[in-house]
């Protein structure tokens, strides 16, 4: 009989070994999948994991990792604060959209005026947009005890409809020949979130994502609020006794995650994407939930997990183009990676114990 026994402390060895094992297992099973599809498994795996980092054109792909990873990390950091405290915001996709709409809207309102105030104003508007959207589930939870998982999820679909409405209506580019979509902010220099060093991929969103990682780290390790978050998540009743105000915590955690998701949307729309379009959102808000868990809700872990996810996207596209792998195979491969990471995580907190059978 094998039993799972909770470790008194999470295993440090396993918290490092589990992700490595998961990646290894994914390579084996993913390789099998690619072999079944008639592709060289070694070449496919190498294309996905090696090529973007150390291949011939790594100089191009490495900055792309930042561009693809930054929104994931930024959103996931915000989500992790709530997740740690048992507050589940799964509507980051909606907050991301609203941040982009508010941010782009603020910028476009001034078009074609050029001023140094525009971009900071857009940052504020984007943060506000995401924050407001997250405050809906927060306030409803505090006031009425409504389940924030479901409210935040519902609001994603509401936000998507707003996005369509704005792309076809209010924010439509008047010089766009009638096509849906806003003006391109990349061509409006006051509103453009450009690379800080050309070609480095380091736009403001990347910088803010890194700051958020440090901020979250300090908050959780040193600050009283971080303590409150951890205690609430681990022992809600103890938290109540120690005088932590749960309502304020809900407002803070949801608000913060919305704010960061809104910022991510704003930096994306004003930088790499450039435009508000009907299909502007590509699922960062949902992927970030997975990233948060892959990173074990730890700021540094999230940073690494975000980059790993970005790597599989970028490597996956290269494998499609170079080897003719279907996009669906890459998706399955990513799914496998997540499954293994989630499954093997068990051994960080539990160990196996072999003992005699007894009634369980």
């Amino acid at each position: 009989m094998i039993a799972l026994v909770k470790r008194p402390e999470p295993s440090r060895v396993f918290s490092l070994a589990a992700p490595l094992l998961a990646v290894l297992a994914t390579m084996v099973f993913g390789g099998l999948l690619f072999a079944v599809l008639g592709k060289d498994p070694i070449e496919a795996i190498a294309t996905i994991f090696w090529e973007p980092l150390f291949g011939e054109f790594a100089f191009f792909y490495r900055p792309q990792l930042l561009i693809k990873g930054a929104p994931l990390v930024l959103i996931a950091i915000g989500l992790s604060l709530g997740f740690k405290a048992g507050i589940w915001n799964i509507g980051a996709e909606g907050q991301y959209i609203m941040g982009a709409l508010f941010g782009a809207g603020a910028g476009l309102a001034f078009y074609p005026l050029e001023s140094a105030f525009i971009f900071p104003l857009m940052v504020l508007a984007g943060a506000f947009g995401g924050w407001v959207w997250a405050m809906i589930p927060a306030v409803l939870k505090v006031k009425f005890g409504t389940n924030e998982i479901l409210v935040s999820l519902m609001l994603v679909y509401v936000a998507e409809q707003f996005l369509a409405s704005m792309s076809l209506g209010l924010l439509r580019n008047p010089e766009g020949m009638g096509f849906p979509g806003s003006r391109n902010l990349q061509q409006y220099s006051s509103a453009h979130n450009a690379d800080l060093i050309a070609g480095s991929g380091m736009h403001w969103g990347v910088v803010v994502a890194l700051i958020a990682v440090i901020f979250a780290y300090v908050l959780l390790a040193r600050h009283r609020l971080g303590f409150a978050i951890r205690v609430t998540g681990e022992a809600p009743r103890a938290a109540a006794f120690s005088g932590i105000n749960p309502a304020r915590l809900v407002l803070f955690c949801l608000g913060m995650s919305g704010l960061l998701a809104g910022l991510a949307g704003m930096f994306e729309v004003s930088g790499p994407a450039g435009q508000v379009t009907i299909d502007f959102n590509v699922g960062y808000g949902f992927t970030a939930i997975i990233v948060a868990f892959l990173g074990r809700l730890h700021p540094v872990g999230i940073l690494l997990a975000g980059l790993l996810m970005a790597l599989t996207y970028i490597g996956g596209d290269i494998a499609q183009s170079k080897m003719g792998l279907p996009a669906a195979a890459i998706q399955v491969f990513q799914g496998m990676l997540l499954f293994f990471l989630l499954a093997l995580d068990l051994f960080t907190n539990y160990r196996l114990q072999f003992k005699r059978a007894e009634a369980v």
Binding site: E56, F57, F59, F60, Y61, Q64, I67, K68, A164, L168, G169, M177, G178, F179, P180, G181, N184, Q186, A198, G199, E268, P272, A273, G274, Q275, T277, I278, D279, F280, V282, Y313, I314, D317, I318, Q320, S321, K322, G324, P326, A327, A328
Partner: protein, 365 residues
């Protein structure tokens, strides 16, 4: 090696990387012409992306060993598409077809960085650099023929129309079909449902069913799935037309004809031009005459005289003797759009954001 130092300096990565570019990106000696395709959907979507991928395969077949093609599917518009295009250019593509309107700005951005790679953007209008061409098809020509057949075929005098988004391209198609349906049937009326998607089988099926329930016995679609065909087949006595691809599996009825996106001749011609070194920037808007818009076989479900008229119209459009938007035509509000004998110019067509007179519907704002 045509990749000059100066052009290289324009690269996003600055001069240090330009050296790498100069020595690697085009160092394969170009035994084969490499052509990349960026797709917005899946190659199995049975509509828009499938039609491009069929053309890619036809082009590959045509050139055989002289050409290597690569593609990436399901590429989101925005930064992902920009990365995929750059990746193709780095990997030595000589020509890249980007096949969605939303790739317009990304295509031009990447083109700026790779002056020696040729870019072809479908359905867009921006050609900011010498190495960017645009191409699109005059689907409204096919719509005129559909409208004619629809006007003749309908018994209930109600024609259903599934639109994707209320944008000029789609509005133009509705107008063209309506004008020609009215010409042969003054009592005909159009019911229009906007699906707000280019491709969502379930939604399109629902829309088709509702149109049929409301009395439509002809359903035209400007969305790409075959779901409306299936709905019509289920209903029994409803006529449809294939869209984007021939949808021949629903022939001879309900599908009585189709508008087919025929990209292959264009892809072959442009690839040939790159091989010959004669590629130049162009803005192509071709129709039936040039073979970019194909009219799928008109089946025996259409009466012989109607079929003959439709084929005569097709021939007239092809040789340029007839233009589907020929005056006198009024806008919906009664103001004059085209005077007697006047033909709409391309500018008016490209920006069309109004219904023509007689259409009993409102454009969503």
């Amino acid at each position: 090696m045509t990749f000059t130092k100066r052009a290289a300096a324009k690269l996003l990565l600055g001069t240090a990387l330009a050296a790498t570019m100069g020595t690697t990106a085009f160092a394969d000696g170009h035994e084969k012409t490499k052509v990349g395709f960026v797709y917005v959907g899946s190659v199995n979507d049975g509509g828009w992306t499938t039609s491009h991928d069929k053309a890619r395969l036809a082009m590959q077949e045509h050139f055989g060993d002289k050409v290597e093609t690569v593609f990436v599917e399901n590429v989101a518009e925005g930064p992902d598409s920009e990365r995929v295009m750059t990746q193709m250019a780095l990997d030595g593509a000589d020509l890249i077809f980007t096949t969605s309107f939303g790739y317009m700005d990304p295509t031009n951005n990447v083109a700026a960085k790779f002056p020696d790679v040729k870019f072809e953007h479908a359905t867009g209008y921006k050609r900011l650099h010498d190495n960017v061409s645009t191409y699109s098809a005059r689907f409204y020509e096919g719509r005129a023929i559909q409208g004619h057949i629809a006007g003749k075929m309908t018994k209930s005098n109600i024609v259903g129309y599934i639109g994707s988004y209320p944008i000029p391209e789609v509005i133009r198609g509705i107008n063209s079909a309506f004008i020609h349906a009215r010409k042969v049937n003054p009592d005909v009326q159009f019911k229009i449902i906007w699906a707000y998607t280019w491709f969502d089988a379930a939604k399109e099926a629902d829309a088709a069913k509702v149109l049929i329930e409301q009395g439509a016995d002809v359903v035209l679609q400007h969305t790409d799935s075959t779901a409306p065909q299936a709905a019509a087949q289920e209903a029994g006595n409803v006529t449809t037309f294939g869209q984007a691809s021939d949808m021949e599996q629903y022939a001879p009825y309900p599908r009585v004809s189709s508008i087919i996106d025929e990209w292959a001749p264009y892809y072959i011609a442009r690839t040939q031009a790159v091989m010959d070194g004669t590629w130049e920037q162009i803005d192509t808007w071709d129709g039936i005459g040039a073979g970019m818009v194909g009219i799928g076989e008109i089946t025996e479900a259409v009466p012989a005289d109607v079929k003959a008229e439709a084929e005569a119209m097709k021939a007239a459009i092809a040789d340029g003797s007839y233009h589907p938007f020929t005056g006198p035509l009024n806008k919906q509000d009664g103001t004059v759009f085209l005077a007697e004998g006047e033909v709409a110019d391309d500018g008016a067509l490209a920006g069309m954001n109004f219904y023509v007179e007689g259409l009993d519907a409102e454009l969503p704002q």
